[in-house]
Subunit: 287 residues, 2 copies
């Protein structure tokens, strides 16, 4: 038996000690000012993934604010971030007993040495563990086939041209019903569904949900559009602390008009709870 | 024939000369600083309506930024606004060719004379008239019966205790299917639908859409909950300039959990176009 087949699985990474935690770690330079080296590991083509950026800003705000969990995070994307050094400046807007509100901006230097703002965030934080346990919901988990009937980047040729380093960081298994774009036959429906986890096995937490809502291929691909779909604005609501195990993510676009579309994401945990909702406004190039 | 019956209808107000325009008008004190007297005419019980506040901030940003139309506006509500004087401070975050981004905060003085921030907004503005005319949509207008089969506050006893001055400013006709709460028999479904206009006949424009997304009774009423449902965060996407005529607004709540719920609003114009989408995170008191 070849040695590789007998080697044990690598140990699963845990929350606090994983690729995601290391790559989103911020260093407090002084109160409200944080340094980070944006990892090239979370890029799509050459752009840093917007969900990864949101998690980075979310971590800085969790340090600044008296509450640790993002409840509602609204981000406006100003210019495209690049891998490399960045500075985050946060501000405490208001602190309350159950909710506190903060603001954060991420800056980088451009080629001319000018500081450029990449993304600005307004966010309200709370403590998910203190919420009452009531749930009244009509929402149902997305109809995704079992994971072994879904497909990831490792199951075929890379569907997106260029380097997508983020694919190596994620466990992504797309519902075959929303995979037509990768085979040249997009469904024409604005839907994308997948099982999602982190490649090193780290379970989800409220912070990684900020990544999860923007980690799937854009619904525009299934609408037959190609190319970059830059986010203008993205708002996430974290509704519950996710249980261990893979997430299911469903993204829906109902209205493409005037070169803009919305992407509505739902994230469900392994206990069939709706743990996050998001909506983004994005631009498309009409071909 | 009594004289009242022969009196002509009052002339319809027009965009730029109406209650809404007068009550949202801001006065530029200096670049980026605006004064306004928040009108008591847009209150529910004693609180100033969140959509009216959004329109006020939207008007200040339209003056500050090089683009006039709100494309995406994210508001975090910090403390409850009161009728009376307020100051708005705006900041230009980024200006681009097709989109510019700004920030605005509204402040009032509390009883002790301290300046208190009421609401903070991040927003991206553009020019709706320059967008291409393409529409690819699977969204369909909400199933609201004809207006003469719907009901407004004038058709029955006031369903909400206390003074709701905003009811006099709006033309609001609720779908009977979402009116159970007013009769003591809430449907248990998180839905609210209505025809909506301004009482003086002023047509909708992109700015008044910011009011429209937060003008209906809360879906929580149809879920059997009573009382105040304060907004934590509200984001609006304006997708198209509305045609003249009444709007149809549909609000849906799918998930109430941990004392929070989302309200998703869609606004449709008289030409069956989806002109705005919004989502808010709100708190409920569970009884």
């Amino acid at each position: 038996m070849p040695e590789a087949a007998t080697a044990p699985f690598p140990p699963r990474a845990v929350i606090g000690d994983s690729e995601f935690d290391r790559d989103t770690a911020v260093t407090r330079r002084e109160p409200g000012v944080y340094d980070i080296d944006l990892s090239a590991g979370w890029t799509i083509i050459r752009a840093v993934n917007g969900g990864y950026l949101l998690a980075v800003l979310g971590r800085a705000l969790a340090d600044t604010l008296p509450h640790a969990d993002p409840f509602s995070v609204s981000a406006h994307y100003l210019t495209a971030s690049r891998p490399g050094p960045a500075v985050i400046r946060t501000e405490t807007v208001r602190t309350g007993r159950t909710l506190s509100t903060g603001q954060a901006s991420l800056f980088q230097y451009d080629d001319e040495g000018n500081e450029v703002e990449r993304i600005r965030v307004l966010a309200s934080y709370g403590d998910l563990a203190t919420l009452p346990d009531d749930v009244r919901t009509t929402a149902t988990p997305p109809p995704i086939p079992p994971m072994d009937q879904c497909f990831g980047p490792e199951d075929g040729p890379a569907p997106v041209d260029g380097s997508s380093a983020i694919a190596d960081r994620l466990m992504l298994k797309l519902d075959p019903a929303t995979l037509g774009w990768a085979l040249g036959t997009p469904s024409g429906k604005g839907e994308m569904r997948a099982w999602l986890g982190l490649a090193d096995g780290r379970d989800a937490d409220p912070l990684s949900l900020l990544l999860a809502v923007d980690a799937l291929p854009p619904t525009a691909f299934e609408l037959g559009l190609k190319g970059w779909v830059p986010t203008v604005e993205l708002t996430v609501h974290v509704r519950h602390r996710p249980a261990p195990g893979p997430l299911r993510v469903s993204i829906t676009t109902r209205n493409l008009a005037g070169g803009f579309l919305e992407e509505d994401a739902e994230v469900w945990d392994s206990e069939d709870r709706l743990v996050a909702q998001s909506r983004q406004l994005a631009r498309v190039r009409l071909s």
